[in-house]
């Protein structure tokens, strides 16, 4: 039941369930949307974050990271990201947690799938995930903050700063269900996604809730027993402060992210994704979280540029074949 790393993409391949049971997942750099209480359109993808095997850099990382295994990538403080799912159409149920807090249900990490409330994304219907599901059709963007400062969803909900990073488990559809589906849909199949010094524990980053964005987390309309829960594929993804990336890996960190203001001022577009799929309602626990800007305001009396409004003028509407721009131009 392997998970591979190939050119900064995680490839989940449940080949012992079915040769077609495969999808890939990448972490996309993006603009941090203003945390100003308004619902924003989708920002673009500005290229993949570099992913590295944790074990390749074991001698420079805290022992706890090595024990968890998996991969890691760098983020700057207050930088945003989204998760891009791509594949050939084989259905998967994918649980995503940040700091072991489920990004869809707000509950603590548990193995297996739950339907009430739904605690996973369904592929291929879900092309991407940009943040925590706080309301039906609204997420709060994933924004990186240093673990231990109280901003992350994990710290707000559990009071502890233990995990940070991202945790993923993916369950493929049962092979016999897929064969049925494939026969039924033989003519409809399509590709769906376009869209030296020891590093200290303090380099660990977690994900905190940022600004609000319009995004549907698709409700699963299939019966729960279509998913093959005996064959889950797991991966732990650590997030390392970009300032420590070079020390850990010997490779330079990516350039600091472009600001939403500069991007918009350059006349570049944002996106609105139109999907008719039904949405999960969002989690009360996640809706109760304080955003990074709200906490900064409470603590320092000022949210700095976190809440600075950006006059978005160009919004491209994209439809059933998601064409959200993914570029490495920044």
């Amino acid at each position: 039941m392997p998970v591979y790393l190939d050119r900064d993409e995680l490839i989940f391949h449940a080949d012992d369930v079915h040769p077609d049971a495969r999808f890939s997942l990448a972490f996309q750099r993006t603009l941090r949307i203003p945390d100003d209480g308004r619902d924003h359109p989708l920002p673009p993808g500005l290229g993949r974050f570099p992913l590295r095997h944790v074990e390749d850099h074991a001698d420079r990382l805290p022992q706890g990271w090595v024990t968890r295994g998996g991969v890691m990538f760098p983020m700057y403080q207050a930088e945003a990201m989204w998760i891009l799912f791509s594949g050939g159409g084989y259905p998967f149920a994918v649980k995503i947690a940040a700091g072991k807090i489920n990004a869809v249900s707000g509950e603590r990490w548990s193995p297996g799938l739950n339907r009430d409330p739904q605690d996973y994304c369904v592929l291929p219907e879900q092309p991407w995930l940009d943040g925590y599901a706080v309301e039906r059709g609204v997420i709060r963007q994933f924004v990186a903050m240093p673990l231990g400062q109280g901003y992350t969803a994990e710290e707000q909900l559990t009071g502890a700063a233990e995990w940070g990073g991202v945790q993923i488990v993916a369950y493929p559809m049962k092979a016999e269900r897929w064969e049925e589906l494939r026969r039924r849909r033989a003519k409809e199949m399509r590709v769906y996604a376009m869209r030296a010094p020891m590093v200290a524990e303090s380099a660990a980053m977690g994900l905190a809730p940022g600004g609000r964005m319009r995004q549907v987390i698709v409700r699963d309309r299939r019966p729960l027993d279509v998913w093959d829960q005996r064959h889950g594929l797991r991966c732990h993804v650590a997030i390392l402060n970009s300032a420590d990336w070079a020390a850990a890996t010997g490779s330079p960190a990516p350039q600091p992210p472009v600001s939403a203001r500069d991007y918009t001022a350059a006349g570049l577009p944002w996106y609105d994704y139109y999907a008719e799929a039904p949405a999960v309602p969002g989690a009360a626990a996640l809706a109760s979280l304080k955003s990074v800007a709200a906490l900064a305001r409470e603590r320092h009396g000022d949210a700095g540029d976190l809440a600075e409004p950006v006059p978005v003028q160009r919004v491209l509407r994209i439809g059933q074949t998601p064409g959200r721009a993914v570029t490495s131009a920044f």
Partner: protein, 117 residues
Amino acid sequence: MSDFGAHVRKAREAKLTQDRRYSLRQVAQRIGVEPAYLSKVERGETAPPGEETIRALARELDEDTDVLLALAGKVSSDLKEIILRRPRLFADLLRQLKQAPDHAILRLVREVKDGDW
């Protein structure tokens, strides 16, 4: 016409249909060579350029650098360095993998280790 030259010409001309900046002259200028030289390379009348120029061409044409280097009969200097650091290990590994299908190679070298979390 060499495989390398033909491939570069096809990739450049495909871009030229969308964007006039991909004329022979402009591409040559951006990668730092004379247009006449790039023309000869594309027609296979001269040997492929050095690694740095091929890297610049790959960036310019959105091509995979390793594939372009391979078409020119070259191996990237960073790969050479990796092999030279542990020559016996990598020579054995590559010989063993010579006949292996792609999915087996992918499984061997890219699997992510799962741990305790």
